[in-house]
């Protein structure tokens, strides 16, 4: 008798606990509305048109890891509501820390519940979301009509089996940033550096002029400085058939070149190990480094973290190994995707196309975030070229001049399931060994490390 009662009671408590779990589940979706400081305009929009009884705003839940992205999407939602009073939307954004957001999304998609409608996924993590049955919605019907107007590589990197799943914010074209003051000191005309050999000679000149300065810097725990040098030679981190490909002559050639620069004191290993470390910002800002290879989205790191270099930094196309090679590669990026759990896929798609593919959206991307937008026609539009913002104030030349020059030379790189593990190997082991071990046998290191990569 007693046993039965106890069992009953326990079952009751358990049922109660489960109910509690269930009721608390929608909680994460509720608070964002109150969290988001700029939510007000989105909610205002539908109240402006009370005469439209049918136009109940559709909620679109959006996750990101970047405040700036929310600012951009909210501006676009406002514009959307102005232009489409019949189909108003209400953007419900949530900003999570970088790792947190990707981890939560991974779990939500793996388990089939709790994912948002719209989500920003960073390129380094994207391959994780292309595994198995892809839990994102193909965007072919909005992407394919625009393929001729955009940099195709920026949607290719988010595709699998001919389906496009994400749209990038920017081209992320790799360029080179010169400290014009040090170029002057070395007597180097940075506009006329066309090959890596000339680049190396310029470094020697700077070293001769001032041995305490460095011509460039290399990262031991990141790959941005290296990737375009390898891409110019036709190399890549992973092959198109989904295998690590760091054990290649292209990779060895680029690494050997960099190592030579380090050995001769022309290049310094980035303090803090990569170009996003506080120590590196400090050294660069002090004017000790003549140039770095980074994608265009690094522009805002200069303006925000290296204020002393204002008016001294020039953006130029990359040197090449041999004339005729492509001078850039699209790097990094964040693809906005629609999850398979989206409630209103058609409307969300239309909004995404409006925000990310339209000229209006692409102009806003430059104005809000300072990114090089993927729609090429806007690069020469006066709304972009003649706008003034913190970037135009900071740099000695216009990034769009460079972009227009290299427009047809921006190479894509492969993104597949082997990429996260390959990048981990590069960041944790390969680069550190190549740049810091004494007399490294670079091809041997590459072969050895590639064999260890598990994906």
């Amino acid at each position: 008798m007693m046993k039965r009662l106890i069992a009953l009671l326990l079952a009751g408590v358990m049922a109660f606990a489960l109910c509690a779990c269930k009721t608390s589940e929608p909680a994460p979706t509720d608070p964002p509305a109150t969290d988001a400081p700029t939510d007000a305009p989105a909610t205002d929009a539908p109240t402006d048109a009370p005469t439209e009884p049918s136009a109940e705003p559709t909620e679109i839940e959006f996750w990101t890891f970047q405040d700036l992205h929310v600012e951009f999407y909210e501006k676009m939602a406002e514009k959307w509501n102005e232009e489409n009073p019949n189909e108003p939307i209400k953007l419900v954004p949530t900003v999570y820390p970088f790792d947190d957001m990707h981890n939560k999304l991974l779990i939500a998609l793996q388990s089939g519940v709790g994912a948002p409608d719209l989500v920003d996924i960073e390129i380094g993590k994207y391959a994780n979301f292309l595994k198995g049955d892809v839990q994102l919605m193909p965007l072919n019907d909005i992407v394919e009509p625009e393929l001729d107007n955009i940099v195709k590589a920026r949607v290719d990197i988010y595709s699998k089996d001919n389906n496009y799943y994400g749209i990038c914010f920017h081209v992320g074209a790799a360029v080179i940033y010169y400290n014009t003051e040090l170029c002057k000191l070395a007597g180097v005309d940075y506009e006329n550096i066309n090959t890596w050999d000339e680049y190396y000679e310029a470094g020697k000149k700077l070293k001769a002029a001032d041995p305490d300065k460095y011509w460039t810097s290399v990262e031991t725990s990141d790959i941005w400085h290296l990737w375009p040098m390898v891409a110019e030679l036709g190399g890549d981190m992973v092959s198109s058939d989904g295998k690590p490909s760091i054990d290649s002559p292209a990779m060895a050639q680029a690494l050997e070149f960099n190592r030579k620069l380090v050995d001769e004191g022309i290049a310094v290993v980035a303090p803090g190990n990569y170009f996003h470390a506080e120590e590196f910002y400090g050294l660069m800002n002090s004017g000790a480094i003549g140039s770095i290879v980074m994608p265009m989205w690094y522009m805002d790191r200069f303006t925000d973290y290296m204020p002393d270099l204002a008016g001294k930094i020039a953006i130029e196309p990359l040197p090449v190994w041999e004339a005729g090679q492509s001078r850039s590669v699209g790097q990094g990026g964040t693809g906005t995707s629609i999850t398979a759990q989206c409630d209103n896929p058609e409307l969300t798609k239309k909004f995404l196309a409006f925000a990310k593919l339209s000229a209006e959206g692409n102009i806003e991307i430059w104005n809000t975030m300072g990114f090089d937008p993927i729609r090429t026609e806007v690069w020469s539009m006066p709304e972009v070229t003649q706008s003034t913002n913190k970037f135009t104030d900071y740099y000695v030349d216009s990034p769009f001049d460079v972009l227009t020059q290299i427009k047809d030379e921006i190479l894509p790189h492969n993104v597949n399931e082997a990429l996260p593990a390959t990048l981990d190997a590069m960041k944790n082991s390969v680069l550190n060994r190549v740049y810091t071990e004494s007399n490294p046998d670079i091809p041997a290191i590459l072969a050895e490390e590639q064999a260890k990569i598990q994906y």
């Binding site: 009671l9 408590v13 303090p271 470390a277 981990d424």
Partner: protein
């Protein structure tokens, strides 16, 4: 024995008092002493079952699977076989060295400090207790960030700046060519954070030791050292065992400290890679949940074995 008697007395009582059978039943249920313990432990049992037992079983199953959306399938021992040619060896080595070093410092030192703080002669006891405990209240994220800047490799970073006054050249502390610098930074962070917590455990243990023992020892002519060796140390043994157990576990499960010091789960040459860091890399950063689970299960088995052996040696399982 006494409790049983008591229970019988209580259950008898309502029977005599309640005239209606229905009410009697609810009353006997409400006041039932047999049921009460189950009710009181139910929240813990449920939480434990849902948030600990279930995930552990689920991880064991997942460690034999390739977990991908819509296509999860069993792959036998593949995940475990793959463990041996990855970076697990380095991760285990780092974790073990860190555990040994941290236990060597964080277990005995707080004991001595606690004895001082417990002494009647100690001046400003409460201030010291608060100061030692303060770091435990600081978020590890904030602490890690601060320590990363202290241990910066530039000559202008705090520690290098101080050392330069003694003519020591700037050292690349985090992930530098010498392995010890990384462990030193991790250990400083560990001591800073855990000394106060362990002092609290020891203080609680010390306050359970009866004062009469010391008094009688004093009358017998024992000096302070003899009192410490023959009274304090043996009677602190349960606390010591507890602190050692959680320190071993804490050392092997260390992740966040390294993650924060290195500004992410990466470090030159894997200098700061720990077992949990490796698990995080495989499971989350590479979305390889099955492989990650296999690492987790290995960590569980290793920690459990080490702790059981250590508890066995310390006589924890002996009946009192």
């Amino acid at each position: 024995m006494g409790l049983k008697k008591n229970a019988a007395a209580v259950t008898k009582e309502p029977k005599a008092a309640a005239p209606k059978p229905g009410k009697e039943r609810t009353n006997s249920l409400l006041y039932s002493q047999k049921l009460a313990p189950y009710l009181f432990v139910a929240p813990f049992v449920l939480v434990f079952a849902i948030f600990y037992i279930y995930p552990v079983i689920s991880s064991i199953i997942m460690s034999f699977q390739e977990v991908i959306p819509g296509q999860t399938h069993f792959i036998g021992l593949t995940n475990y076989k793959r463990l041996f040619n990855g970076d697990l060896g380095q991760a285990v080595l780092n974790s073990v060295i860190y555990t040994l070093l941290s236990c060597a410092v964080v277990v005995p030192v707080p004991m001595l400090l606690a004895v001082f703080l417990n002494s009647k002669k100690m001046v400003g006891k409460n201030i010291f207790r608060s100061v030692f405990f303060l770091p435990a209240l600081v978020s590890i994220v904030v602490a890690g960030l601060t320590f990363r800047l202290i241990f910066g490799e530039m000559p202008t970073a705090l520690l290098n700046n101080v050392l330069s006054n003694f003519g020591i050249k700037p050292i690349k502390w985090l992930g530098g060519p010498a392995q010890w610098t990384t462990f030193f930074a991790l250990l400083v962070l560990c001591c800073w954070r855990w000394t106060g917590v362990n002092i609290m455990y020891y203080l609680a243990g010390l306050q359970n030791i009866s004062v009469e023992l010391y008094e009688s020892a004093e009358i017998d002519g024992a000096n302070a050292w003899q009192q410490f060796r023959s009274i304090t140390v043996p009677l602190l043994k349960p606390t010591f065992t507890y602190v050692l157990t959680i320190s071993i576990y804490g050392g092997l499960a260390m992740f966040l400290e390294s993650y924060m010091l290195f500004n992410g789960n990466r470090s030159p040459g894997g200098a700061g890679l720990t077992i949990v860091g490796y698990l995080y890399r495989l499971g989350w950063e590479q979305a390889n949940f099955g492989f990650g689970c296999a690492v987790g299960i290995c960590l569980l088995v290793a920690t459990l074995t080490i702790n059981l052996v250590q508890l066995k040696i310390s006589g924890f399982f002996k009946k009192e």
